[in-house]
């Protein structure tokens, strides 16, 4: 447990070393920017949809083309679901190809 390690003073030196590692700082900065951007997109998409429901029901109820039964709200609602899935896919891709190798190199040096 971290408590015991902390008490034994095993951590502090290594923590300071990693904190000072420019690769670590870069990783934290990049990942944080990326995840907040994705979070922002998801919030805007979902609450945009909710506000549309709250304030403009007619817009969602109109047919996607004259004569069709499908309303605009259906591709939009299902689109919100698909965007959610797509954003998780985008994050996983970037994390696997970009963040993981960075983390790995930081870890390897830290555990030397």
């Amino acid at each position: 447990m971290s408590d015991e390690e902390r008490a034994a003073g095993l951590h502090s030196e290594r923590v300071a070393r990693i904190e000072a590692d420019p690769r670590y700082q870069k990783l934290v900065r990049r990942r944080s920017r990326f995840t907040w951007m994705l979070t922002g997109i998801m919030l805007v998409v979902f609450f945009g949809y909710i506000l549309l429901i709250a304030f403009n029901k007619e817009f969602l109820a109109q047919p996607i083309s004259p004569g069709s039964a499908t309303s605009l709200g259906i591709p939009i609602g299902i689109g919100v679901i698909l965007i959610g899935i797509a954003l998780t896919g985008v994050y996983v891709r970037r994390a696997n190809s970009d963040f993981d190798p960075m983390t790995k190199s930081i870890r390897e040096d830290a555990e030397k």
Partner: protein
């Protein structure tokens, strides 16, 4: 169909699942129950036997507390993704959403999107950090750099509150569902759920719970896929033709009820757009917040991230889970519209008043009958029951771990309890929780429990989520801040819910609600965030200095996983 089955075999299996209960009562139960549904009971018995077999296998692998809480951290990302989907897709989403679409059309989709969009948020902000910082419960993460006792007390209180409300809703739902589906009395149904969930969790811990959830997810996704494809096939795979027919059916129903032609067409058309479900903008946003951020604070969901070996697997499991859950919600949309067309037009499924036979939630069940006859009806009924079992097993395990790990091992024993002692306490807690769930399920039989699931989400969004997020991401956060802020959020969410239409009017029978909106989250969640910020900022205690000083170390571990407890923990 049911005449073709051997009554003796059915009887044998029936006695097998109900060893202590009198058969005669079940068969002579009151009239409002459906006829005893043998195909459903047989298929359910097959599910029970299979899952008890899994539990027996799992029991041999549960030796330590780590096995019990997290399956030793040995679940793969793909398996965990399916198990999360199995944990999350409740009978409420399958039967409830398809029933809501059957009644109101489009409105059901609003629920579906809300239930899905919490997942990306969990992935971006929490999943990997949870895995890197925690061992067994989300309180491990929330209390990582804080004073253990106060934060664990808060976390176990809010975990038990969320678990109990969720559990009551599931138990009452299960009782009513089984009464309808299998023709068994309510009390038996609740007792069966309680006994089975105890078996899974008590003997098989997280290993059995995970596999029950995986099996259930596969069955539910399979059944829903088959139903949606069958519905679409009868419209030449044209969703537009399905929607057009559904609009026509609703218009005909309105006309038959005496509406003028113009108005009837209008009412038919109304199912294609949002209707009365969202009453005012404040409720709409509040409800959206509860669904989105509540998902990211549900203890039984957060716990699933400790079952995988590392952050990479945690990430992978969210991607799989989000994919399966999203796919499932698209299917329920088709199923709901299929029910309008195939169930709403068939008098065999309707009662004289024009409602659904057996109650509003039966749309998907009747549709199963319309598609595949009694046998498929039995299969879908059994899947619906299995769905409840998987969800309550996950809830029970989360509740038990809050008591045994957070309260007993960390607060009472100050982290000095052995794995065996902790295991013993969790098993006793499982018993206690199952007993409480059965009793509460029976007490709340006649009550309207619809608000309890939304209350559970509101509590999770107003307590666990702000506490977890700020403790992980904000250096200035202190013990005092998270405890006071988290409690404020939880208490306000409960109080406002009591004063809202769902309880103040529907349960207590007052004429006007004191709190007019349908969800408290738009007030309670910001209050929690604000209070945590305010109290932490003003906190000048010695402990606050330790809390803030621990941030850098916590961040190193949460970002890189260095020092994280992994599958190597055993």
């Amino acid at each position: 169909m049911k005449e073709r089955l051997s009554p003796r075999l059915g009887l044998f299996l029936f006695v097998l699942i109900l060893p202590t209960m009198a058969l005669a009562d079940a068969l002579t139960a009151e009239a409002e129950q459906q006829r005893t549904n043998w195909p459903a009971i047989l298929m359910f018995a097959a599910f029970v036997i299979a899952t008890l077999g899994v539990t027996r296998w799992a029991a041999s692998r549960v030796k330590t507390a780590s096995d019990f809480y997290t399956a030793g951290g040995g679940i793969t990302g793909f398996q965990n993704g399916l198990a999360i989907a199995g944990d999350y897709m409740s009978a409420a989403s399958f039967l409830g959403i398809s029933a809501q679409i059957f009644t109101d059309g489009y409105d059901g989709l609003i629920y579906s999107t809300g239930f899905l969009v919490g997942w990306p948020i969990i992935l971006f902000l929490l999943a990997e950090r949870l895995r890197n910082l925690g061992r067994y419960t989300f309180a491990d993460v929330a209390s990582f750099r804080f004073a253990q006792t106060p934060v664990r007390l808060f976390a176990s209180f809010s975990t038990l509150a969320v678990v109990l409300f969720y559990l009551i809703a599931q138990m009452v739902g299960a009782g009513q569902l089984i009464k309808l589906l299998f023709g068994l009395p309510y009390g038996y149904a609740v007792a069966i759920v309680g006994v089975l969930m105890t078996c899974y969790v008590l003997f098989g811990g997280m290993v059995a719970t995970t596999w029950v959830q995986i099996i259930k997810a596969v069955l539910l996704l399979g059944a829903a896929t088959f139903m949606a494809i069958s519905v679409l096939a009868s419209f030449g795979f044209s969703p537009d033709a399905l929607f057009a027919r559904a609009v026509q059916v609703k218009a005909d129903m309105a006309a038959a009820a005496g509406a003028a032609p113009g108005e009837a067409a209008e009412r038919g058309r109304s199912i294609m757009g949002p209707g009365g479900f969202i009453k005012d903008p404040v409720s709409a946003i509040s409800f959206g917040m509860a669904l989105m951020f509540g998902t990211a604070g549900l203890p039984h969901i957060l716990m699933r991230f400790f079952t995988v070996p590392d952050a990479k697997a945690a990430r992978k499991s969210v991607l799989w889970a989000t994919g399966w859950i999203g796919y499932f919600y698209v299917l329920t949309f088709i199923i709901g519209f299929g029910a309008i067309v195939m169930v709403g037009t068939n008098p065999a499924y309707l009662d004289p008043a024009g409602g659904l036979r057996g109650g509003g939630n039966m749309a998907a069940i009747h549709l199963a009958n319309a598609i595949g006859g009694d046998l498929f009806l039995g299969f879908v009924s059994a899947v619906a029951f299995a769905t409840i079992l998987a969800v309550v097993a996950g809830l029970t395990l989360a509740g038990a771990s809050a008591v045994s790990h957070d309260l007993y091992a960390m607060v009472i024993r100050k982290g000095q309890a052995t794995s065996q002692e902790e295991l013993r306490v969790s098993r006793r807690t499982v018993f206690g929780l199952a007993l409480a769930a059965i009793l509460l399920g029976i007490i709340f039989e006649k009550q309207n429990v619809a608000f309890m699931v939304s209350l559970a989400f509101a509590l999770a969004a107003s307590g666990n989520f702000p506490v977890l997020l700020l403790s992980v991401l904000w250096p200035g956060c202190t013990t005092r801040g998270v405890v006071v802020g988290g409690m404020m959020g939880v208490v306000l969410a409960i109080v406002l819910t009591v004063l809202s239409p769902a309880i103040w009017v529907s349960v207590f029978g007052n004429a006007e609600p004191i709190f007019p909106y349908s969800s408290p989250t738009i007030f309670s969640m910001p209050l929690a965030f604000f209070t945590i910020w305010l109290v932490s900022t003003l906190d000048r205690s010695g402990r606050a200095a330790v809390d803030r000083g621990g941030y850098l170390e916590q961040r190193v571990r949460s970002e890189t996983g260095i020092g994280a407890s992994g599958a190597s923990a055993h």
